[in-house]
């Protein structure tokens, strides 16, 4: 039994009884789709973000840094990528986070694994993927995202690029042990509630617009219409999707509903996944901010390694799923 069934009943009832649109009409399908998806996504967002925030309140980055500074090479990359999932990535914390890791002796490769996983595998993207594509695709996204993060970190670690990090990152060690304030359960709940609310406030217009356009495409664009331009047999679709994804970071919440509709109309799934990964993992504003602590050459290496990983994943899924 589908747990979203009651929502489907509600949107059926709303479309046919309140709006009085006959179920055979295209418009009925569009509105039904829109109401169902919007309610489902917002419910999922509230539940998932709240849960992740509670977990996160036990694992602040300062604690993660301590965990990662002990670990051996490959274990470190894996752990860093996993921990990156639950950590939110606000570009305003990118620089202190990077410096904090490097100064605590976390290897550069491990730090990069974290920098890749943290924005790419985030709860908003996962909720949207789960809600619109189903759990299989969401899981596929998590696993391939983890693998890209782990491998990118290992590759960057092997390139010995420590000299491309600004020198001051290695000096200026903070003094002594850090005493983080203890949080009570009440504070954790409040933190989680505020965080959830903040995120919803930030993403709701994008989701409404994204789902709205998605619903329209769902109802009016012929199935497989896009296959002739972006089907699995079009070699250029994946790299093109990645390039388009780079400047779109802030709108990730609106883009996923949109691409879910495009997939339905014939864009190959590997291409879609690559596009979403590029949107979340490669962000132009983040690169600009990271320029404060690393040379442009390192940012380019970082972007290329991750970009190649994403393109490879895209081709791989287009090939497997076809």
């Amino acid at each position: 039994m589908n747990i979203f069934y009651p929502i489907q009943l509600f949107s059926n009832w709303f479309t046919s009884t309140i709006l009085e649109i006959a179920p055979e009409e295209h418009l009925a399908e569009v509105i039904n789709f829109f109401i169902f998806d919007t309610i489902k996504i917002f419910l999922l967002l509230i539940v998932i973000i709240f849960t992740v925030s509670i977990i996160r309140s036990f694992l602040p980055p300062e604690k993660i840094r301590t965990i990662l500074s002990h670990d051996k090479k490959y274990v470190g990359n894996i752990l860093a990528s996993l921990l990156g999932i639950i950590t939110p990535f606000c570009s305003c914390s990118a620089v202190p986070l990077f410096l904090g890791f490097v100064q605590a002796g976390v290897p550069l490769g491990t730090t990069f694994s974290f920098l890749v996983a943290s924005p790419m595998i985030n709860e908003v993207a996962l909720v949207l993927l789960f809600g619109l594509f189903g759990w299989k695709i969401a899981l596929l996204y998590i696993i391939s995202g983890l693998i890209i993060a782990i491998f990118s970190g290992i590759v960057i670690g092997h390139l010995k690029v420590e000299n491309l990090v600004e020198e001051f990152a290695y000096k200026n060690k903070f003094n002594g042990q850090l005493q983080l304030p203890k949080m009570t359960w009440k504070e954790r709940r409040k933190y989680a509630k505020n965080y959830t609310w903040d995120i919803i406030k930030k993403v709701w217009p994008y989701i409404i617009i994204g789902v709205g356009i998605g619903a329209w495409i769902h109802g009016y664009v012929p199935t497989d219409f896009l296959a002739q331009y972006a089907g699995a047999d079009k070699w250029y679709a994946v790299p093109l999707a990645v390039l388009i994804g780079i400047p779109l970071y802030s709108n990730a919440a609106g883009i996923i509903p949109l691409v879910s509709a495009l997939t339905e109309k014939g864009v190959a799934l590997g291409t879609t996944l690559a596009f979403m990964m590029a949107v979340t993992a490669l962000s132009l504003p983040e690169f600009m901010i990271l320029k404060k602590v690393m040379k442009i050459k390192l940012i380019l290496i970082f972007a290329s390694v991750v970009g190649v990983g994403i393109i490879f994943t895209g081709y791989l899924f287009n090939w497997i799923l076809n």
Partner: protein, 77 residues
């Protein structure tokens, strides 16, 4: 009281600053608010998530925005 805000210039940092100023005004207390924006100095406190509130070199909150009521409680301690 000497209050320091570690601030990378993000929207959340501004919101914390507003809340801190409100809390100070409501308590009618004497306090100086200093914004630390130099990245090397921010990192020297060991904090990694923004915004961070520091009183007397001690981190009080980090990576979240305490509301005015919570700040008042922190300041009155």
């Amino acid at each position: 009281m000497n209050i320091k805000l570690l601030d990378t210039g993000c929207p959340n940092c501004q919101k914390l600053e507003e809340n801190v100023k409100k809390a100070i005004a409501e308590l009618k207390m004497e306090a100086s608010v200093e914004k630390i924006t130099d990245i090397e100095e921010i990192v020297s406190y060991g904090a990694m998530s923004m915004p961070t509130l520091v009183i007397g070199e001690k981190i009080m909150t980090s990576g979240r925005i305490p509301d005015v009521e919570e700040l008042k409680a922190i300041f009155s301690k």
